[in-house]
């Protein structure tokens, strides 16, 4: 990636909230970039920090929030240094947001369709869509996704699409960030994430989706971590079938497993060298198309 091509670069974003129950560490050190014209998907479950990250970038946090970030470089300017007043110039003009709108009107297409039109009225460089279709019926969702694709192409915008729906990610995005417990656990090209899955959490998400063959679902056991009191080690360790002692004590770094594909997992460490059993989807792909690309590796995708 050349720096010219990067539209947005966030370094070490940390956001917390003072609540009646204590201090919630919603985002715990997140760094990522968005290229010009790129469609980035951010996927994760409730409370993983995906929406809070976006609100942090836009300075749209509530008063009880604490924001700490090294930099938010947007088109050559550091948004982290801007005042709330200065940020108004960016909100809606340079960066636009569409929020989840749970059926405030009888015709949901009108509402979200309208939101999209308002959002792109000023021809922004970046469109952030936060669960734009979550409350909608699938046929309406299809219309909205189609409209977003069309607008994005026409106006050459970058897109950050936040969703918990891997289907929406697969059909809309070129690159994907997977978040869990306030950190990024995996990041890569959309095909890296789906066909060369590296992180056990991503694998768990993919296996939770029903397949056409009616095979029994493989759920992720347990529940997400409490960010009032986040674990010292990997946030996924308590639910991870591969977890080792090490995982509970130290948080693994987000490191490259192959070019442009990063994963935060101790299994990738050269001294551990363990493989995860890749999801079904990846196995099928590996047998066919990956062989042609010469990327097939024996005994599961080797991660070290």
């Amino acid at each position: 990636m050349t720096s010219d091509n990067v539209l947005l670069q966030i370094k070490n974003l940390k956001t917390g909230f003072h609540t009646g129950d204590g201090y919630v560490q919603a985002v715990r050190g997140v760094s990522f970039y968005v290229d010009r014209g790129e469609r980035l998907g951010i996927v994760g479950e409730s409370g993983c920090g995906k929406s809070v990250s976006m609100l942090s970038i836009m300075h749209l946090l509530e008063d009880n929030a604490d924001l700490n970030v090294d930099e938010i470089m947007f088109d050559g300017e550091d948004l982290a240094k801007k005042s709330v007043k200065e940020m108004r110039k960016y909100q809606g003009n340079e960066i636009s947001m569409i929020f989840q709108d749970p059926m405030t009107s009888l015709n949901p297409l009108f509402t979200i369709g309208e939101q999209i039109c308002i959002a792109i009225a000023c021809n922004p460089k970046l469109l952030i869509a936060d669960e734009p279709t979550t409350a909608l019926d699938v046929t309406i969702q299809a219309q909205i996704l189609e409209l977003m694709q069309k607008m994005r192409k026409q106006y050459a915008m970058s897109l950050i699409l936040i969703t918990h729906d891997l289907g929406v990610i697969a059909s809309m995005c070129t690159r994907v960030i997977v978040m869990y417990g306030g950190i990024i656990v995996e990041e890569g090209d959309v095909r890296d994430i789906f066909y060369r899955t590296a992180h056990p959490y991503t694998k768990g998400l993919l296996e939770s989706i029903p397949k056409a063959n009616g095979e029994k679902l493989v759920p992720i056991f347990g529940t997400p971590p409490d960010l009032l009191n986040p674990p010292a080690g990997c946030p996924f360790a308590a639910r991870c079938p591969y977890a080792m002692k090490l995982c509970h004590a130290f948080q693994p770094k987000l490191d490259e497993v192959e070019e442009g594909h990063k994963s935060a997992c101790w299994l990738h460490h050269p001294q551990v060298k363990k493989n995860i059993e890749v999801p079904d989807l990846a196995k099928r792909k590996r047998a066919g198309e990956l062989k042609a690309q010469g990327k097939e590796k024996e005994g599961g995708v080797k991660l070290s």
Partner: protein, 327 residues
Amino acid sequence: MSISSNRETCLEVKNLKKYFELKSGWFQKPNILKAVDDVSFSIAKGETMGLVGESGCGKTTIGRTVLKLYEPTDGQILYQGAEITRLNDKEMQAFRRKMQMIFQDPYTSLDPRKNVMDIIAEPIRFMKLKQGKDVGDRVRELVELVGLKPDHINRYPHEFSGGQRQRIGIARALAAEPEFIVCDEPISALDVSIQAQIINILEELQERYKFTYLFISHDLAMVRHISNQIGVMYLGNLLEYAQADELYENMLHPYTKALISAEPIADPDLAAASQRIVLEGDVLSPINPKDECPFCSRCPYVKDVCRQAKPELKKVNEKHYVACHLL
């Protein structure tokens, strides 16, 4: 109308109608909202029927009407051969125990002032299924059955996550020792990884106790996964009704095709290769509907005949019915 090879029928619904009268001006004819309009299906014992369709299609109304939480306007509901359509509350009591419901929202369907013990014990005490100390033992058994820990019974709903609350909801439904359970969007409020946990519990329970499910959901992939047969609803009407595999391999109705094609595929290559059918036009009003195909306003293949009469559900083969003039 049966499409299952299993002879023993648990629930049969014949020409079921549920209309709601909406207030209009004095001396005017009342407006009629036809939430369920002439729907027939049957579910074999131990099997699952999935009902899919979008908001307002009437799937939830069907679920509530077969449990007699709504009074049916017309048609018949037969539970294991016995007609329950016109039974009053008292006469329904014997059936209530056998017919239970799991709700969509585990946040609002549990009483926040009661702990888990009291929530689950309530139906056991009310129906006098167990007495004294046996009530507690039964609650502990149910709690374990749905994968909660024994010490959870003294806690309150707000102390649990969404998935755990849904487990409590399931345990409560099981407390009545049911045979037939209406699952109304039981997973739509839950995160993806938790959805699979709940689906697996429902499947394990069915295997163990031979439960019959009416599974209502807008999640097509999950409905396909759990169902033996599927009904596709639109504007109060059953447009297509078939065995699950048959429906996916040989879908006939234009709406079913659009609905299934609109579901995003969690596989980038397949998603890029697939053709999404994007529907145009608005959904017709369910209030005072005309005698026409309910889908005619959005159907890409619409012909004059579609606006002249409502198509009936016609048999395609032993395991497949469809309501379309063009087929």
